[in-house]
Symmetry: C2
Subunit: 143 residues, 2 copies
DNA sequence: CTACAAGTTCAAGTGAACTTGAAGTCAACA
DNA sequence: TGTTGACTTCAAGTTCACTTGAACTTGTAG
């Protein structure tokens, strides 16, 4: 395999900052080799990998989850179209679930709130247990 | 108006931690009066307000946006059912947009990636300009 | 009167996903 | 020779939405 792309080339083509690329590498999402100078050199396949990372983020996956998904790809060979399809079909299900949740929220916006019943202890949609019993910081919304 | 609820009562009924309530107040999302002791006392209407905040978060709005929306409610009187409905109908549109975006992402997962064309410079779905030209930290995903 | 729970403020910590800045290396060009 | 420009590492900063902890005061029960 030839590792020929510099970090700035990958950055431009993928539309992702160099700092983000180093960060992804640190997190084990992508790999690089080093030129004699110590500079990073990337294989072309990294572009598709990054495309998938960006995509998965839009869908709402965390980098940790994405790392887990990418780890399922074969290590000893460049992934085929079929490998990528397998991944993407798993993600389609997640998107569908997310859409379904939004539909439910939408319905309760028009129905539940519109009719005036919106009170947290009665409306299961607004408070389905997950919010009350959550720990740690931040919202991590619609898990 | 009678401000009679203590912070722990509101916390229990709304399913939101006391610390979060103080935080919301600091951000101007809710209001309270003080008892002689210096303790917070809330009006009952705060419960509906919090319900809306929780809801809006699930939909994906930031607290800043929510503050902006809530500011549109009348100040000198307790909001009516109609006031809340007006807000919620605006949010329905946002949910619909978000759903539409997810549908697009889903389609490109099955189509674009499945067919093998996923390359960031060609596929407008994966890189519609917003990602390339972004500043500051974090993803703020699916704006 | 003494516990103890529940409230207060204010500063600092958390996690995710990066970015920014400092300080240094290396190759190429005038 | 010097000076850009692209690269390196490492530490620290940023945003959001809170939480946690320290130190202190108040209200209630026995």
């Amino acid at each position: 395999m030839e590792f020929i792309l510099t970090i700035s080339e990958v950055s431009k083509r993928a539309g992702v900052a160099s700092s983000a690329l180093r960060f992804y590498e640190e997190k084990g999402l992508i790999v690089s080799e080093r030129a004699g100078s110590g500079h990073r050199r990337y294989h072309r396949s990294v572009l598709r990998r990054i495309a998938f990372i960006v995509f998965a983020q839009k869908i709402g996956l965390s980098l940790e989850e994405i790392a887990g998904e990418l780890a399922k790809l074969p290590e000893n060979r460049t992934p085929t179209k079929k490998d990528w399809s397998r991944l993407s079909s798993r993600w389609v299900r997640r998107v569908e679930e997310r859409i379904a949740e939004l539909e439910r929220l939408k319905d309760s916006l028009t129905g539940c709130i519109g009719c005036g019943c919106l009170s947290l202890q009665r409306c299961t949609l607004a408070n389905p247990g997950d919010r009350s019993g959550r720990k740690g910081p931040g919202p991590r919304f619609w898990l």
